[in-house]
């Protein structure tokens, strides 16, 4: 069955698509419609930003989200609509008019990406409720100095929008149900892809193709293709498997499906812990959070991912599933060693349960990076302390960027548990971090810096608990 989607208002059907073909390459190959730019090919610059609309079951509308077309694979568009700067119509929108005139476009190369990010905000795409700054954090501009771009966004918060024509086209395309396809790679081998439409089907496919690569948001795997030039041969796209997109809040905590995108979980995660919400806000830019999933952030096993230390500190448990059954484990146990996780090749991340912090709990999370937004952490530290009658009765402390895996800090926790919540204990805990970790030196920070800064995060926690401003956004300007 062919891959079908709507592109700038036209139905597209493609027969021979490889799982690693990118949306951007498809878009830029259209004659005279090269508005979508490639500035980096790896999700860093936002020049390739497009909007992808997914139909909402039982409703006459699409959920739109801004994504980086350079690291989205074509099959991920199946049954959806993609809107590019070339599809905005012959008349400039008010937003475009402002941007053409207020200095928001100089060389113009970043411009279509900014236009689409802001257009998304104007038509109520995911994240439209965020401040303009958050919506543009994933777009780089080397010319303008950003001010006029933010101003254009502020000036045009909303634009009327109608999805009915697109929905009609999608209905014609009849894309419900599972999908698959294949293509011959330049090397001569065949690459195939599958889109299961439920979790059982996913489990069956993985049993059948145990070597298959699972792809959720492709914000990691996309880079393997565009940067490391890895050929993908068998891919199972799980991003739209309904069970994996479930999100259930209860007084006890939050159950998050493995394929829930960070942007979709953001509100629930913020309610669970404002600290976690703020940390998630700094995972990539909106385009990355609109595609990247929590399951992918965990399953990639990266020692510098931001989700795992935070979730470990909160006491999250992970459920893996296969045709053989389910296993649930504390999240920290999933990470065995650098590049090695406790996952059999037929298993997938089904969901994650995160307990809700209770009244006396203190949660502190800090991401230290050179550049404030859109940067990988040098150190990411997460603390959960239960303080009862002035005594720390329980604690979990976890760090990213300090070891080969996201890891708990056992000695730091020992220094905290049972001790009074006071400055002396903080000093002991800050010192204990040096015993817990022997980090590496790299471009993001030296080992000495990482140790020093990780220790100082304990103090940041202390000051935050005393009600002091510890974050740059809290500091009053002027």
């Amino acid at each position: 069955m062919a891959l079908r989607f709507v592109c700038d208002g036209e139905l597209v059907a493609l027969d021979s698509v490889a799982p690693g073909d990118t949306v951007l390459d498809f878009l830029r190959a259209r004659p005279g419609r090269t508005g979508t730019k490639e500035g980096c090919g790896e999700g860093d610059c936002g020049a390739c930003t497009v909007l992808v609309g997914t139909p909402v079951a039982g409703e006459e509308r699409l959920v739109w989200r801004a994504v980086n077309a350079c690291i989205q694979f074509l099959p991920m568009l199946h049954g959806k609509a993609v809107l590019t700067v070339n599809g905005l119509g012959d008349q400039l929108t008010p937003l475009q008019q402002t941007m053409a005139c207020n200095g928001a476009s100089q060389c113009g190369f970043c411009t279509p990406g900014f236009v689409m990010s802001l257009h998304g905000r104007a038509i109520g795409a995911v994240g439209a409720d965020l401040p303009v700054g958050d919506v543009l954090a994933g777009n780089l501009c080397r010319c303008t100095g950003y001010g006029p771009l933010l101003e254009a966004g502020e000036r045009h918060p909303a634009l009327p929008h109608d999805d009915r024509a697109t929905l009609d086209l999608l209905r014609q395309a009849a894309t419900a149900g599972p999908a698959c396809g294949h293509a011959t790679l330049p090397g001569g081998s065949t690459a195939r892809w599958f889109i299961p439409d439920n979790a059982d089907a996913l489990a069956t496919l993985l049993a059948q193709y145990p070597g298959a690569r699972i792809v959720a948001g492709a914000t990691d795997v996309g880079l393997w293709v565009t940067k490391k030039l890895v050929d993908l041969d068998t891919v199972i796209f799980v991003g739209d498997v309904p069970e994996l997109n479930a999100l259930a809040e209860s007084p006890d905590g939050l159950t998050i499906g493995g394929a829930v995108r960070y942007a979709d979980a953001h509100a629930a995660l913020s309610r669970l812990s404002p600290e976690l919400g703020e940390l998630v806000r700094r995972i990539g830019g909106l385009q990355v959070r609109n595609a990247g999933t929590i399951g992918g952030n965990i399953a990639n096993g990266s020692p510098i991912g931001d989700g795992p230390p935070a979730l470990i500190a909160l006491g999250a448990t992970l459920t893996l599933r296969s045709a053989r059954g389910r296993r649930t484990m504390p999240l920290e146990d999933f990470f065995l060693a650098y590049g090695k996780q406790d996952r059999a090749s037929d298993e997938f991340v089904e969901c994650l349960f995160v307990p809700r912090p209770q009244g006396p709990d203190i949660v502190h999370m800090s991401k230290l990076s050179k550049r404030f937004d859109s940067d990988i952490s040098a150190v990411c530290g997460a603390f959960w302390l239960r303080v009862e009658q002035g005594t720390i009765t329980a604690a979990r402390v976890a760090f990213g960027g300090m070891a080969a895996t996201p890891r708990r800090a056992a000695q730091t926790e020992a220094a905290l548990i049972g001790a009074p919540f006071d400055e002396a204990t903080m000093a002991a805990a800050a010192a204990a971090i040096r015993a817990d970790f022997a980090p590496l030196s790299d471009v993001r920070g030296s080992a000495a810096y990482r140790l020093e800064a990780a220790g100082n995060l304990v103090w940041r926690l202390w000051h935050q608990a005393q009600g002091q401003a510890v974050r740059v956004q809290e500091v009053v300007h002027g």
Partner: protein
């Protein structure tokens, strides 16, 4: 009476022609005419031209740093699906051409001089096929017999005096340092930088008989044509480059580079058009870097805080034999006094990609260090840093004795201090605390040399009363389309809707090109001269003196005569002329520079050492403001480069094998908007007739020149940590932070 229309700009043209015109468009913050195309994705960039039969080339980069390619397994590559050719021609470039080289850069890609140098091009029917074969291509190398070091500070590195600049020496600096009541003698490091223009380099090459057409992304077409022609051994008149839209340059597209030459060679071999688009990683690794620098600054002041001695010595680096040496001390020559002086640049010969011009070569890194050192001196003397600067502005350029054309530095410092609220600054560090943040303020002067280069532009007043401006001048985002149209509109009395501007095609008269902030003033002057000639011809038709002619809103009049539509005056004829200008005696007779001042307020986190710029003000004087909107954009963008230079941008080379570690936008950190606070830009009124007949000077680079110094000074004022190694990352600050629990010290 001088002859203002002579090609050589030998005398300041103080007639202020533009101020006598009536249209009222010059200087106005008008919209760029190509804005609508850019926001709708319709502007066509180099890689996007649709050319029938075009095939795709992908460059193959060396995986060693120094040696010789001994074999390339062409056959295996050619056996792959779709592969058409493997090009490894001796004419392929090893290095990018420097700006205004106008001749072929170093060639013979088989000799590898730095890690990541292109050694071959694989061409296939599709991009994927080419990329696949390029990755698989087997290249054998022999290591170099006498490798040069990777590290400019290696003990065995060869250090040379550059051929491009001479030291400035005067008096006895050592003695002045001994005599000084106050002195500083400090060493600063700045890292390598990348232009990181958002559009990666791309070329489509197409031969028509023995003529070559290139759709490319370049800044200086007239020079680029000569460079390409020289590479290919053909006459420059057989080469045409088309580049109406360029997705940023910042120096990286001044000279031709690898993809253009390789595409042209491949297209010739295959007899069909070839497109080569570099990946972001390839751009980082192969095109151009700003050299890292190590700078020693010596400042000797008398008891009254006046400089009696000034030393600024820099070690920069480049590949062996490369002429360019980052002109670190360029602005130091004229900025402050101190007759006893030694200004000198030396260049270490190392194996890293070509060092060349990155936005504001020289001042970008020289000014940030000089201005940080001035802050150190002000502290020693115990005077306000603004006062120190004002006390040290010489009457003529030290040693040379050249007069200044016009210098708005004092005004910039004073107006900036007012606007920014400098009086609230604490004169000692660690006095202001906001939560966990130490807060401080810093100031720095801005200075950037002004240059004019030869330029031509053709202006046609069409019979229908509209005008057309044509030149090969590029618009790399700077606003050339807008400004050149405004000059013509002002001079010919036309609203902007009646002026068309055609740029970026080497078949048109050669403009200045976009580089060194000289594009607008040089090409703009050529437009002005062309318009003056047209005015003379109109005056002749009307039978009046050119000075009496009044052109406004498409009409011509003089004296009491009623205005007549230009269409009628022209009587069905076009008036066409080409204006030309070349730098002349004014270039040497006056010290010409654009000036300004930066003010920054930062917060430094007391525990983690994170630095955040909280607000910035920049005040700039660069002669006549041709378009207040595009000029402001240039300043704003430049100041953000200053933030990058101060806090985040740094090329990191592996000193073991010479490879560039952070060759992508994930790890080479250009500022994101969250790094950028509210920035105020104030433009001063100035006329500088020595600089150009427009009375305008360059502005494209001024916004960076010193900005990082203001931020570093603010960091010191906040927390008392003086980091003499840019960028000021948290790991360099945290070890010296004062007791975080003290609210003030």
């Amino acid at each position: 009476m001088h002859l203002p229309l002579s090609e050589m700009y030998n005398e300041p043209d103080d007639r202020n022609v533009l101020d006598r015109m009536r249209q009222g468009v010059i200087g106005q913050p008008l919209d760029r005419p190509e804005g609508a195309l850019k926001v709708s994705g319709q502007a066509t960039y180099a890689a996007e031209w649709r050319i029938d039969g075009c095939v795709e080339g992908v460059l193959v980069l060396a995986e060693i740093a120094q040696g010789q390619v001994t074999a390339i397994d062409r056959d295996a590559a050619l056996a792959r699906d779709g592969v058409l050719a493997v090009i490894a021609d001796p004419a392929m470039t090893r290095r990018s051409a420097q700006g205004m080289a106008a001749k072929a850069p170093q060639q013979d890609a088989a000799k590898v001089e730095y890690f990541g140098q292109p050694v071959a091009l694989v061409v296939a029917r599709t991009f994927e096929q080419a990329r696949d074969a390029a990755v698989a291509l087997r290249v054998d190398y022999a290591d170099a017999a006498e490798p040069v070091p990777f590290d400019p500070h290696a003990p065995d590195v060869k250090v040379e005096a550059p051929s491009s600049s001479k030291p400035v020496e005067g008096g006895d600096l050592d003695q002045a340092m001994r005599d000084a009541a106050f002195s500083v003698d400090v060493e600063y490091d700045t890292p390598g930088h990348a232009s990181a223009a958002m559009e990666p380099h791309a070329t489509i090459a197409q031969w028509q008989g023995d003529s070559l057409i290139l759709h490319g992304s370049y800044q200086m077409l007239a020079y680029n044509v000569k460079e390409i022609a020289d590479c290919l051994g053909i006459s420059p008149d057989k080469v045409r480059i088309i580049a109406p839209y360029v997705g940023g340059g910042f120096g990286s597209k001044l000279g031709i580079t690898h993809e253009a030459v390789a595409a042209a060679l491949a297209a010739r071999e295959l007899g069909r058009p070839v497109r080569v688009v570099m990946s972001r990683q390839q751009v980082f690794q192969t095109v151009m870097r700003r050299s890292e620098t190590r700078q020693r600054v010596r400042l000797a002041a008398d008891a009254g805080g006046r400089l009696i001695g000034l030393g600024h010595e820099a070690l920069v680096s480049n590949l062996p034999g490369e002429k360019f040496a980052e002109p670190v001390t360029q602005a130091t020559e004229f900025l402050y006094g101190g007759e006893n002086r030694l200004l000198k640049v030396e260049v270490a010969r190392i194996s890293r990609l070509t060092a060349g011009s990155v936005r504001a070569p020289g001042e970008a890194v020289g000014m940030q260090v000089l201005e940080a050192a001035m802050d150190e001196l002000a502290e020693k003397i115990g005077i306000d840093p603004i006062e120190l600067r004002k006390r040290n502005l010489p009457a003529t350029v030290p040693v040379q004795g050249t007069p200044y054309s016009s210098r708005m530095l004092t005004q910039a410092l004073e107006q900036g201090a007012q606007a920014f609220g400098w009086s609230a600054r604490q004169d000692r560090p660690c006095q202001t605390r906001d939560g966990d943040w130490w807060v401080g303020m810093g100031v720095a002067s801005a200075a950037r040399v002004n240059m004019m280069v030869p330029a031509q532009a053709r202006v046609t007043l069409r019979a229908d009363g509209s005008a057309l401006v044509e030149t090969d001048q590029t618009d790399i985002g700077t606003g050339s389309y807008a400004i050149l149209g405004q000059i013509a509109g002002e001079m010919l009395g036309l609203p902007m809707a009646r002026v068309d501007v055609k740029l970026g095609d080497s078949a048109l008269p050669p403009g200045a090109g976009s580089g060194g902030s000289f594009g607008a003033i040089s090409t703009g002057s050529a437009v002005l001269y062309a318009c003056e000639e047209i005015r003379k011809r109109l005056a002749k038709i009307l039978g009046c003196a050119a000075e009496e002619l009044v052109l406004k809103d498409g009409t011509a009049s003089h004296g009491d005569a009623a205005p007549r539509p230009l269409r009628d005056v022209l009587g069905g004829e076009d008036l066409t002329t080409t204006g030309k200008i070349k730098p002349g005696k004014t270039a040497k007779a006056f010290s010409q520079a654009s000036y300004g001042a930066f003010f920054a307020e930062v917060g430094v986190h007391a525990f983690t050492g994170e630095v955040r710029v909280r607000r910035m003000t920049g005040v700039f004087g660069f002669g006549r403001v041709l378009n207040a909107k595009t000029a402001r954009s240039q300043c704003l963008g430049g100041m953000v480069w200053g933030i990058g230079s101060a806090l985040t941008e740094e090329l990191a080379f592996d000193t073991r094998d010479g490879h560039l570690v952070n060759h992508d936008l994930a790890e080479y950190h250009v500022p994101v908007h969250a790094d950028v606070p509210a920035i105020e830009v104030i433009l001063l009124e100035e006329r500088d007739a020595a600089a150009s007949p427009l009375q305008a000077k360059g502005v494209g680079e001024l916004g960076i020149c010193g900005a990082a110094g203001a931020i570093a000074n603010a960091v010191y004022n906040a927390c008392g940590v003086r980091v003499r190694s840019f960028p000021l990352t948290l790991d360099k600050i945290v070890p010296s932070l004062p007791d975080p629990f003290a609210q003030t010290l």
